[in-house]
Symmetry: C2
Subunit: 402 residues, 2 copies
């Protein structure tokens, strides 16, 4: 059976870690010199393991297996957040090399800009499944400094290169190994997460209209304080959501902005960003229904009117059951009782690949749940176990797949 060379896997990870090194992490923003250096490094490693390496017009690095199928696609992203961790993304890409080295018939890919340095997000995985238009590339700019994406692609030497499209029929499935970026494995003392699906984020905006007025000259009885209506609605959401949410649903108010926001002025307007997440469409619909009821009740009782605006509704990406069974069997064989099935609360390239082929993800624990920070880390033995489980699981899946 296929065997993972975990020592070589760790060596590859540490080698990649040196490109764009920042404290114990890396600084490799998309299309930066460090990022392009890491992509060139990857292409060399791909050639070394016998894959045909190329880079496309959006920066996707692809290593194509030269032999017969059925094939698997394996990958993640290789750029990083600013001054962030060495494993986020890199883990899944280097895992692809390890699967190739183990003799499995895999294509390996590093999808460009999963981290969203440029507007649009998930540019590489969307492009490779045919969901990124040239017009969108023309419009996109760097979120931090406004550099047009076209300029960045040109500076990176990618101008004029065609963008590749995968043929889903070539693959039995897509595997992505990733750090958990949360603390659930660590808290429960487990070492492997077999991902059930990638949650969808339903993003909302609550706009409350009141009456701006003088904080001293306006009695409590006559004021229409938009901030107060917002506060009471959010408190009600906090109290009521547990009644109809799912076991692992999350809901979060990330921003509250009162206008004008001055200490002596009654807010005439409140602008709230609220979201919830779940891996089940039914749950998402129930949470939406619950949210609408709470807003309606607020409008019935409060002096200020709240308008509920849907900003975005993603679709949950469920992982393939067959791939999950294979990973679970591998996990139980290699780390009995030290694994669990769990959703991914964060977005990944896998959620786009899942639109065109069966997909699955494998999590390893994050120390302290830290991610998007240079202190991000995972124990070496958990990294090693992870690649062993992935190789075993991928092999079982190929062997058993019908």
């Amino acid at each position: 059976m296929a065997k993972a060379d975990s020592a070589r896997f760790l060596q590859d990870l540490h080698e990649l870690r040196r490109i764009g090194a920042f404290k114990t992490g890396v600084h490799r923003p998309t299309y930066s010199p460090q990022d392009m250096e890491s992509r060139r490094w990857l292409m060399q490693r791909m050639e070394e393991v016998g894959l045909e390496a190329s880079i496309d017009g959006i920066g996707n690095v692809f290593g194509r297996h030269k032999g017969a199928g059925p094939h698997l696609l394996v990958g993640s992203h290789i750029e990083s957040q600013n001054e962030a961790g060495w494993l986020d993304g890199a883990l899944g890409v280097v895992a692809g090399l390890a699967l190739a080295r183990a003799g499995l018939p895999v294509d390996v890919c590093a999808f460009a800009d999963e981290e969203g340095h440029f507007e649009g997000g998930f540019l590489g995985s969307r492009s490779i499944i045919g969901e990124l238009s040239d017009e969108e590339i023309d419009r996109s700019r760097n979120r931090t400094d406004g550099t047009p994406l076209r300029d960045a692609l040109k500076a990176a030497g990618l101008e004029g290169l065609p963008r590749m499209r995968i043929d889903p029929a070539r693959y039995r499935g897509f595997f992505e190994m990733h750090i958990e970026q949360g603390t659930q494995l660590e808290r429960t003392g487990l070492r492997i997460g077999v991902v059930s699906g990638i949650v969808a984020i339903w993003q909302w905006r609550l706009l409350v209209e009141g009456q701006q007025d003088h904080a001293g000259g306006t009695t409590m009885a006559e004021r229409r304080d938009a901030g107060l209506t917002a506060v009471r609605l959010l408190a009600a959401i906090d109290a009521e959501f547990p009644r109809f949410c799912g076991e692992r649903s999350t809901w979060t108010t990330g921003r509250i902005a009162l206008e004008p926001g001055a200490p002596s002025i009654i807010p005439g307007r409140a602008d709230v960003l609220f979201q919830f997440r779940d891996v089940s469409m039914d749950r998402l619909r129930e949470m939406e229904a619950g949210l609408r009821r709470l807003v309606q009740e607020s409008n019935r009782r409060e002096r200020c009117e709240t308008t509920l605006i849907s900003v975005a509704k993603a679709t949950p990406a469920l992982c393939d059951e067959g791939m999950m069974r294979a990973l679970s069997a591998a996990a139980e064989a290699l780390a009995p009782g030290a694994w669990q099935v769990m959703p991914s609360g964060a977005g990944h390239d896998a959620q786009y690949l899942a639109k065109v082929m069966p997909a699955a993800m494998l999590f390893v624990p994050s120390i302290g749940g830290v991610s998007h920070h240079w202190a991000e880390d995972t124990k070496e033995e958990d990294l090693a176990l992870g690649i062993e489980v992935l190789v075993e699981g991928a092999a079982r899946f190929l062997a058993g797949s019908n």
Copy 2:
């Protein structure tokens, strides 16, 4: 007895309205050319009514009665907020001219920068009672564009002029006529407000410390959401304050800032500006005690800790009872049943004058409660009644004062 020439009073007001006119209001920021033009206009009117006019080093315009006392001091401010109303401040200054014209022994003053264009606030009234140091003037800058106050004074031709100090012993009291800037007179169909006192603002800051984290990757059970703790505490304050507040207390949350304030990040910190106001020190102390109890209860129950910070505690300025009796008698004589005693929810120069002499304020209604806006207005008949009541009240006070 003294008689108010209300027609002349209205004429003066409309003449002043033309200086720095903006739509139906005025734009006369402190020390601007329009503001300085209005100060020169005022000095000419003062001379015309037989007062000895001068301007001091902070821009206070003073008209000194040349005859024997006992004297009254009458005044307000003559600059405006940006693109704001024609009556806010101007009313009380022109009222001083009307009292002089009616033959009352009054000094008239326009106190500079009551509107707080420059840091520090109430520069003129504080200066004239000896509560403004040269060091504070050196430090002060324009809140909008950062211009140092010293530069503005120089550009206005005031550099080098000494700053005047009043001698409280010269006066029986200080009268300030002002628009209400609220809707309480209008709502109850009344025409005169005899002010009981000027509320003190006790300004607080609530700082909540939680744990910034990923909105998807962090379960509801493990998160420490500073925004949620803030929301629940503010909802509790809203529910509990009526138990121990005064009849006319106000409390207001003007600003809520969540950090980092991004849609997909659990807030690690919340920064809230909360204030309450009352004219009674006892009430203010009870509200503070209540607020502290609510914060303590929050800290006992919530997962995030809240720190309560006192930003400022002003002292209520109570109006003089004798002056109030005189105004009330005048109001009842001239507008029977159409007046009430009421506090001022906003700050005025009178709160500083009240520190050194008996002080009183008279309110006229504001249409729609609008102020700090060019649409600010009051019916002509209410302006006329107001000056008649003020002249009658001031005369009664001088006649009856012991």
